[in-house]
């Protein structure tokens, strides 16, 4: 064994910097930070549903789990509320190209799509997720039912999503 996991100190440093930047100037509609000061490798995020989508008005909580070798490898993002979307698994795990390194292709992303590398960041992931809410990619679906309904019964899709949106507000 040759120190394969590392101490995670580079990851910790980077996560602290990202947290500081996000606190100082977070893009509109996005909030994120560590769940506790004792563990920077687990974050909570809140995403505001973009206007003009059935997610509008909702505030969607999610967790981000970072590997010890972050940012060499990407975090895993998971919504912790009911979430119906073609690119989100039923357990809430988000499946978009920016969360996968090139060559890691669970959903056959287009080769031109944006991939994980250390130039990406929590902020860029969350912005990608916001655009994913407005524009699902049904070519690389994670929730097949959501893909089908989004494609062929848009009103029904909108109704399901709006119902989830209301739930996030406790209505």
């Amino acid at each position: 064994m040759y120190d394969s996991k590392g101490s995670g100190s580079t990851a910790l440093k980077r996560l602290m910097t990202e947290y500081r930047e996000l606190t100082l100037n977070a893009p509109e509609g996005i909030m994120a930070g560590p769940v506790s000061e004792d563990n920077f490798f687990e974050w909570e995020a809140l995403i505001t549903g973009p206007e003009g989508t059935p997610f509008e008005g909702g505030i969607f909580p999610a967790t981000l789990k970072f590997p010890r070798d972050y940012p060499l490898s990407p975090p895993v993002m998971k919504f912790t509320c009911d979430f119906f979307h073609p690119n989100v698994y039923q357990d809430g795990t988000v499946c978009i190209s920016i969360l996968h390194a090139p060559g890691d292709d669970p959903n056959m992303y287009e080769s031109s799509s944006e991939r994980w590398s250390p130039v990406q960041s929590v902020e860029k992931i969350l912005l990608s997720v916001v655009s994913m809410l407005a524009e699902p990619n049904d070519e690389s679906g994670a929730n097949i039912d959501a893909c089908k309904i989004w494609r062929s019964q848009r009103e029904r899709y909108n109704d399901i999503v709006r119902a989830n949106t209301r739930k996030t507000l406790g209505l």
């Binding site: 120190d3 590392g6 590997p67 060499l72 490898s73």
Partner: protein, 290 residues
């Protein structure tokens, strides 16, 4: 499998844990609810397992060893063996690096740092060159947030060289966080250089029909992606470090093809190039006979 010249695949694809194992002892209700996807914990654990398995095979950078190791490796492969035997006329040692897709960058970095340790008169210029890379990265459109930690580690390691020794250098390059940060910094430097000189290098990507930006995002900036001619050309120019890649292949004859990467032709002959040995699948460091 070999998509281009000087490219390799070092990690064999592994199959994820079989879903049937889990499904067999579930109730019918659980089976209905159960999704055949891996949870995030499983994915992370699985990725860590692959890394651990790789790590157990060989350190990131190994001790020097006799070139006889190559003879042994190719004892049943005549075309390779003939070339290795020819190589023994000029070179006597090699140093292996782990085959994790980063071997070019890691081999280059170690060989470069080692050459600065052996030649104090070029050390200062090396440090200056490394310091100039922050400017290069900013011009290449990199955010400070993305590169500062990797740069700090790399500069810190380089600046230690005058007070260090070869054993400590090796230990540091075997330490995952230090070694990988240096690899990442060199990846960013390579990427920035290619982006800044895109007009010069884009024509080489016609076959792949992608832009330099796409190429850099997919092949250069991502950790663990293998390296090809373009990366070597860019890095040797960006850091002004000449490299010769000695290429072992299955062609007939005992001639080892040498691919030279000189930052500028004019300086050729006035200094020694680092030597790497490439055999299909891998780069290692090569040493000349003293």
């Amino acid at each position: 499998m070999l998509k281009g010249f000087l490219r390799h695949k070092s990690i064999q694809p592994l199959t994820p844990p079989s879903p049937t194992l889990r499904a067999s002892n579930m109730t019918s209700q659980e089976q209905n609810d159960w999704q055949p996807e891996l949870t995030d914990e499983q994915i992370l654990a699985f990725e860590q397992k692959i890394k651990d398995e790789e790590a157990e095979k060989i350190p990131l950078v190994c001790q020097k060893e006799s070139i006889d190791a190559l003879e042994k490796e190719f004892q049943d492969n005549k075309p390779f063996l003939e070339k290795v035997q020819k190589l023994k006329e000029t070179n006597d040692e090699l140093r292996k690096c782990r085959g994790d897709g980063n071997c070019f960058f890691r081999a280059f970095a170690f060989a470069w740092f080692e050459s600065l340790m052996r030649n104090p008169h070029i050390f200062k210029a090396g440090v200056e060159k490394l310091k100039s890379t922050t400017e290069l990265l900013l011009s290449g459109g990199f955010q400070e947030l993305a590169f500062e930690d990797f740069y700090d580690v790399t500069l810190n390691q380089l600046e230690q060289i005058p007070d260090s020794d070869p054993d400590l250098l090796l230990v540091n390059f075997q330490t995952e966080e230090i070694s990988n940060s240096i690899v990442m910094h060199l990846r960013f430097v390579t990427s920035a250089y290619l982006k800044i000189h895109s007009a010069e290098y884009e024509p080489f990507l016609i076959v792949e029909s992608i832009s330099i930006d796409q190429f850099c995002a997919q092949e250069v900036e991502a950790f663990g992606r293998e390296s090809d001619h373009l990366q070597i050309t860019a890095l040797t120019k960006a850091l002004d470090v000449p490299v010769e890649v000695l290429y072992l292949d299955g062609s007939s004859g005992d001639h080892v093809a040498v691919h030279e990467f000189w930052p500028d032709e004019a300086s050729k002959g006035s200094r020694k190039a680092l030597q790497l040995i490439y055999r299909p699948g891998h780069y290692d460091i090569l040493y000349r006979k003293e």
